[in-house]
Symmetry: C2
Subunit: 720 residues, 2 copies
Amino acid sequence: MILSALLTSVGINFSLCFIFFTLYSILREQPGNIPVYASRLVSEDKLPEAQFNLGRRPTAGWMRRAWEPSEDELISNAGLDAFVFMRIFVFSVKVFTFGGIVGILILLPINFMGTQIRDDSDFPNKSLDSFSISNVNNGSKRLWIHFCAAYVFTAVVCILLYHEYAYISSKRIACFFSAKPEPHQFTILVRGIPVPPESNCQETVERFFMEYHPSTYLTNSVVRRSSKLQVLIFIISMKTDAERLYKRLTQLKHKDNSPNRYRRDGCFGIFGQKVDMVDQYEKTLGDIEDNVRIEQSSIEGKEVPAAFVSFKSRFGAATALKIQGGINPTNWITEKAPEPHDVYWPFFSVTFIRRWISKLVAFIAFIVLTILFLIPVALVQGLTHLDQLETMFPALKDILRTALVTQVITGYLPIQILHLFLSLVPQIMIILSSLQGHISWSQIQKSACTKVLWFTIWNLFFANVLSGSALYRLNIFLEPKEFPRVLAEAVPTQASFFIAYVVTSGWTNIALELFQSDRLFYNYIDRIFGGESDEDFEAPSIPYHREVPRILFFGLLGVTYFILAPLILPFLVVYFCVGYIIYRNQLLNVYIPKYQTGGEFWPTVHNYTIFSLLLMHIIVIGIFGLKKLPLASGLTLPLPILTFLFNEYCRKRFLPIFEAYPAECLIKKDRQDQEDQNMSEFYEKLANAYKDPALMPIKYSGMFLGHKHRSPLLQSSSEA
Amino acid sequence: MILSALLTSVGINFSLCFIFFTLYSILREQPGNIPVYASRLVSEDKLPEAQFNLGRRPTAGWMRRAWEPSEDELISNAGLDAFVFMRIFVFSVKVFTFGGIVGILILLPINFMGTQIRDDSDFPNKSLDSFSISNVNNGSKRLWIHFCAAYVFTAVVCILLYHEYAYISSKRIACFFSAKPEPHQFTILVRGIPVPPESNCQETVERFFMEYHPSTYLTNSVVRRSSKLQVLIFIISMKTDAERLYKRLTQLKHKDNSPNRYRRDGCFGIFGQKVDMVDQYEKTLGDIEDNVRIEQSSIEGKEVPAAFVSFKSRFGAATALKIQGGINPTNWITEKAPEPHDVYWPFFSVTFIRRWISKLVAFIAFIVLTILFLIPVALVQGLTHLDQLETMFPALKDILRTALVTQVITGYLPIQILHLFLSLVPQIMIILSSLQGHISWSQIQKSACTKVLWFTIWNLFFANVLSGSALYRLNIFLEPKEFPRVLAEAVPTQASFFIAYVVTSGWTNIALELFQSDRLFYNYIDRIFGGESDEDFEAPSIPYHREVPRILFFGLLGVTYFILAPLILPFLVVYFCVGYIIYRNQLLNVYIPKYQTGGEFWPTVHNYTIFSLLLMHIIVIGIFGLKKLPLASGLTLPLPILTFLFNEYCRKRFLPIFEAYPAECLIKKDRQDQEDQNMSEFYEKLANAYKDPALMPIKYSGMFLGHKHRSPLLQSSSEA
């Protein structure tokens, strides 16, 4: 790629983004788009009416409003996870601003002064390689500046990582202190309960904890779950029906005597006698409830040897969690309980061996999918070859030979197929993770996030860098000695591709994120065809497992290319700065947090950054070898070792905070609670907090209180 | 090696062992050898007088007496560690009896029927290779029997491993239940105490645990330790002097008015006036004690931010151990406390950074020593080349050219040098482990044991199998793909060497272990020159870090050569059977347990056996490849994976029992204690249990009670 081409690409993408931004600031003011651009505010009933009627000219006011709230406001609004997500941007901006200054002011001129690549064209036609380390002469003393830059950059990244980890840890602790008592803090999940033949699970758990934790044990709720999936599905669909009917009913009763209320009961609602729909709905609801009750009672007796055990104090729960209960360590296995609405119930219905096998299968499927992903994609892309299409659809021959169609099919379709496949990956990883035996949606999401991260590194970074078959790439990993050399040869050649990738894919992605084109489209369709849809309205939650890997991948590119091709850095800084504003806006206005992990994404981010640094070091070691400077190559060796030791220290220093809360916090918080008047009420709630929603009795026919936006199903499970 | 040579070697070694056994059964009846062959009984004052005067003819009665005690008697006599040590023999006998039957009756005939190695000599001159898998024809269908044998053998070993782990776990729990309350069960070690500037360590610990563990906290003893090593060494030497004087005094007082009591105070005790030695000794003792007290007070004020914190119950201690104390995880680091006399005090005197560095240094030193060990040995061995010796010592020219001297120097000396170096290794590993920051002698021993294990595998197994330089061997490990092929080519060729190794080194080692030649020699010297030595008498403890790796290495040979050369198995069975009797005898009569790890050696044994199995599988995969049976090679692949999964299951099922006791045990035991009358007395003892012996006040001048065999120093620290 030459310089002028890059500038053109930057220009085009910049204009595209500008258009999207302008469109956004117009469209967001349209009342009809409020469910798209302020879905969170709608679902929380916090819609400031005045603000959305300012007129229809484009303004940048939303940027100011996204920028203004302090971090504490962000935490209280969007939760700790959103805060951690935003810290990725803050951290990246810091790192790449420093890297960019060093790279553009020091490394870039040195690279440009080299004469290794003979490129006599004038400046605008210079190849981008002239700005990369490939252009520095072999054995040049100037490479020692690159060597120093590697050390300085690593040191700066490590210092920033340390401070970030410390800052987020302190926020996590602060959030714990400021939070109200919540069921999952007082509860643990116990599995592998050894139920004696003459007793049942409930009694066994009761006896065990009364015996060994008499002072703190409060109550337990045994998981009842059938493996009869059909029955469960039937119940859940029934419940959904009931819920819908209930909503209809509420609606009808509110709009008293509306024309919809009475309808003829004959064919198409035209003939037959007039019937009060309210009565009819209530009758159907009653029937459904009876059915559900019968089905529930048929499976209710079957207990799974697992129970949610609640304690009177957080410290009591932590003690029972940490100290192995029975003599056999495979009995009384304890685990932190997730938030009640975060529990992934299907997990409980499978047996131990099936869970074990499905875990293995999920792991193998992940490996195979990751390594061989590009093979089916290439096959499908191959189908778009014109000659093949012509043989398959001879009728299309004429159309296919048109110049425009040819261009679209050969130039555009393969990339779109790749994008389509890539966009399915996060969802596939969620399915694989849900097979792995995680007990909560948040854990599934976290695990899927890690999977997508590795998938991205393999199929975006290594697949582009080490062009060749998947097996060829695997082979390189099996020969660790050759690894730095191969990478050093391959990575710099892809610099211009990745610069273009940042500008096109990166910039467009965040513009699209802001624009929410698909949701806008669905909303438009909805407004035209469906009338009642805004009763069902639920704001989306941000898919961390899709967003975090995408953003971190740009971080990886920045870190690995800092030494090789510093030209990438300014574009990254722009990406992260704009991303900061836009995601802040989205988190405050669009997305609603469904469950909280308490910032547990940060250790993943930290590890990934360390991995990026190590990868950069390996490449740099290889580069110095290729550039005939073996001394520099040797002297870089301590760098990955020091980075590794730094990571070990951070694991000791911060990771335990993200795994469990220390005694100091637990006990202080417990003492605060003791002074609280509402605790006895909370304990009562605790007893019913962990019930399987499929087995919760439904009582719609009697209740007609207005729950506006949260489904009564969810409400009953989280409030009860 | 040919068959007749092997039989000759077996004959010679068998006769040697027989001679040793006969000599032993004669020598052990000599009253003068009692401190050697019944040192444990002597030191425990349990010597049955009658038994040792039976006359001087050789009997095998000791074998019966070693065989008779049940396992529970062994545990109560020699501790759980000795029991675990003996289970290694029981387990190995079971494994290799099964392996031997399969190997000799099925595999050996099949190997012998092959014609791959053309060996037309008559039966006694057949090469041992004719009995190994090398002799089976390439591509022969008979190799499928070897294939089945690999699966069956692995299954049997895994089943036996499982039962052994279960059995030892149950014994560990039983021992815990039957044990009296001991200080280390109620105590944890806390490090990284964040002492605020206005307070001291003692107060900080007190405040923290009173705040967060008010109901269970009992007391703490802060570690006071100077880094002034000279002062400490001075104090310890003073104390040793005082102890010796004290013993002299006790001795003199017992033998009242003995001729030794009065001595002239002049030159050589001949001139000058007669002095009562008792008075003089008491005076000196008083002086020493004053000195020690002054030195102690000079360092006593310096606290180390570490403390032994004792609790009222075992469960309280476990809770404080398991739940992270402060918000900063590098503060209030908890660790299980070792038994009071097991504490490795010098560990506390070094700073955090120094400990961290020395840990790293110890690790690197271990790696370097292990990999490059054979280089210095080869250099020293090279010095024994005759021509070099002649150049260095021209005067010895004539002697060096004698036939006998030549033979000794070239044939015998190099092996002896290797043995000398090898015998130093366990001690070196102990030194390296003591640098690693372990807080107790037992942990140091355990860690040294693991080090010696890896050292043995590398320098005995791989060094013999992969002949060539250390770097060449390292290279093979860096090319994982080539590994099975290289091993499959190299390992079978060394079969006859290792068979000879079992017969010579193995059998002789256990005979020498019984005979205790070096201790017998020292005892003889002592009896001639020293009169008072038996006052200082202390029985040795068994050096697990030397014995366990040695014995396990024979297990590794048996497992890896089971398929390749089953001829090794009968000799191993003999080794383990005889070893069982002999070590039982030694544990009951000779060695005294100094500290208990509670059977924590078993997980090491288990892992090592799994490693042996995996190594065997890799070799078998390579062998089938070489023998042109790729299908069998492929079908063997699941075997290591299944073995690995089995190991993972065992880690979940049993390992936690060896790491901490479960709540069930702790609380049951605590409740038993509550009914005990002596607990208040025990709590008082607890407060002083963990004091640095270097800082214990000495009070010999006043006390003259007869402590016969244990030193008062030890007694005061373990009883106080």
